[in-house]
Each structure stands twice: as C-alpha cells, then as structure tokens.
C-alpha cells in the first residue's frame, strides 16, 4: 500500500530506530572497556556524548590501557574519526540541514546513520532515516556507556570476564565488511598489521597504530586501478 508519499519516510524511520537500538547496546561494551582501561565513568560518558563514534572511542581506551603515549592514542582516535568527515561530505547535499540544526545533525553522523540515509529512495526518507538512527542510537549508546562504565567498576579483574578481547573483537566487527569490499582493502589491512607489529618493539604504545595509516596513504597515492581492483574510489 505505497499510495501515500510518506510510506518510504515511515519505513526509513522504522529501519533507523531498529538499527539504532540494536547497535546502541554495544555502548555497554564500550563503557565496560573504558573503565577497565583506566578511564573514569565521566570520561567514558564525555567520549560517548561528544565524540560519539565507536571506533575512535575504543582506540583511545586502548591507548590509555596500554599505558602508552596519549598523544599517539589521541591521534589514532582522530584519524579513525576522519571517515565521518567524508560521510558528512556525502550527506550534506542529501540532508540539506542549515543553521543551528546543522550543528546538532553533525553530531549524529556515524557509520550507521550514514548507511541508513544513503540507502533511502528520496531525500525526505533519507532525512527521516538519518534522524531516526541518530536519535535511537545516541540514546542507547550513551545509556549503554553509562551502565557499562558503572557496572565494570563492580567487576574484579577485567581479564576474568574477557573484557580485554572486547576491543579487538569490536574492531574486527567494524573492519569485517570493508574486507569484503575488495583486494585493495585486504592489502591495506594486511599492510597495517605488518607496520604496526614491526613498529611495536621500537615505539611507545599507540604510535604503531598511527604509523599504520601509511598503508592507507600508500594505497591512496597509487594510480587508480594499479592495486588491481574493479571498484571505484570514494563511491
């Protein structure tokens, strides 16, 4: 019964809310890992409220846990967040927000809200999907962070509950779909691993991860197509 123009809008809103609720629960994992890593509950919550981008938040927690260079940890977190700028570029014309509302909408840019918005048939549905994902994911991610952070303080050793594996498992889940994108992505991932592990004995913890960005730089500077993949860049 798609005889009302509002139908794609409603569908997009439903999809966004469902995705936000499902993914947002992993805020529990971030809150628990953050506190187990040595961040305070308030610090975990500030990251979820303002940075609001999971991979960067886990990366900073990992740097704090490793007792390494906080500058390198911050750099890797910000570098990981650079993809959100790219998402913003793609969303700007589609969402067409202006004024103060744009300041709020910017906060909502994540992997999830971008995927929902770009998957809609028209701009009205894209806006609805973006806002629905933003709203439900922001609320559950932040509630989860607070609950996980408060809960982790009551646990004993984080290793007993396998919390030391939560960060890498979360990174693997975030990386997984990209590994299916093409050979370039798999090559860059492998090069990132090699660079980071080779640098680990010689650098303060955190810096090897930043150095791994050279793998992306190398692949980006190669002439298009030289890496032997069929996919176009930046699609």
């Amino acid at each position: 019964m798609a005889d009302t123009p509002a139908e794609p809008v409603k569908q997009a809103a439903r999809d966004g809310i469902a995705l936000g609720l499902a993914v947002g629960t992993s805020g529990l994992a971030f809150g628990a890992v953050a506190v187990a890593s040595g961040l305070s509950v308030a610090q975990a919550c500030v990251l979820s409220l303002v940075a609001y981008t999971g991979a960067s938040q886990f990366a900073l927690a990992a740097a704090v846990a490793g007792g390494g260079s906080l500058i390198a940890g911050t750099a890797s977190a910000v570098l990981l967040g650079s993809r959100n700028g790219l998402y913003g570029l793609r969303l700007a014309s589609l969402l067409d927000f202006s004024g103060p509302f744009r300041l709020l909408a910017a906060l909502g840019i994540t992997d999830e809200s971008t995927a929902v918005a770009l998957g809609q048939p028209d701009p009205a549905a894209a806006r609805a999907g973006f806002l629905a994902t933003f709203g439900s994911l922001y609320l559950t991610w932040n509630a989860g962070t607070l609950a996980g952070a408060l809960g982790a303080g009551r646990l004993g050793s984080p290793d007993t509950f396998g919390l030391d594996v939560v960060g890498p498992a979360a990174f693997l889940a975030l990386l997984w779909p990209r590994l299916r994108d093409g050979r370039t992505e798999r090559t860059v991932a492998l090069a990132g691993v090699v660079i980071a592990l080779a640098a680990t004995p010689f650098c303060p913890p955190g810096l090897p991860v930043v150095l791994a960005a050279a793998a992306a730089l190398g692949a980006a500077l190669l002439p298009s197509g030289a890496a032997g993949t069929a996919e176009g860049p930046g699609r």
Binding site: V64, L70, G73, V78, L86, R102, A169, F171, L179
Partner: protein, 105 residues
C-alpha cells in the same frame, strides 16, 4: 587537568569537528579522488593495526595470550556466521573468560 582528560577532550572535540567540517565545507575542497580514497582507506589500516596490536601486543613487546587469541577466533567465526555485533562481542569475551576460568589458557 590530567593528561587523560586532555586526551579525552581533544578526541571528543576533534571527532565532532570532523563531522561538522564534512557537513559544512564546500564539497570541492575534498573532491580530489586521492583525498577521498585516503579517508576511505584510513579506517581499514587503523582498525587492522589496532586488532593486531591488541591481540599480541603487550606494551612495547609482543606476547601470545592464548585465551585472547581464541576469543578473537570466536569473534571471526561469529562474523562468518553473520552474527549481529553484540553476539560477536559476547562470543569473544565469553570464549576468553571460559578458557581462563577452566585454566586452559
């Protein structure tokens, strides 16, 4: 203010600023295909590096922790089975915790 707070605040503000910049700057500023390609590949390189360092890194040395590697293996298996995010996380943590509780690893 402690160094950790500074790192938290700089990370939070920069991550937000990157999002706002994307929505605000004229699209042609970053229209160069190589800039776009770099921005799109950076997460791949960094995530892979983070996984490796956290899996076998311990400070400035490399160390094998069997329970941790088994947990990551469980996460990969869950991903192959197309499990949702939270199931992947629970499989990884549960596997590591179980192996440690059993004293196997």
């Amino acid at each position: 203010m402690s160094g950790t707070w500074i790192a938290v605040l700089v990370t939070a503000v920069c991550c937000y600023a990157l999002k706002l910049a994307g929505l605000t700057v004229p699209p042609q500023w970053l229209a160069h295909p190589r800039a776009q390609r770099f921005a799109s590949l950076v997460p791949v390189a960094l995530l892979a590096a983070l996984i490796a360092v956290q899996a076998v890194g311990r400070g400035e040395s490399l160390a094998i922790d069997a329970a941790r590697l088994a947990g990551l293996g469980a996460a990969a298996a869950a991903l192959l089975l197309r499990a949702p995010f939270l199931v992947v996380i629970l499989a990884a943590a549960g596997t590591a915790a179980a192996l440690r509780a059993l004293g196997v690893a």
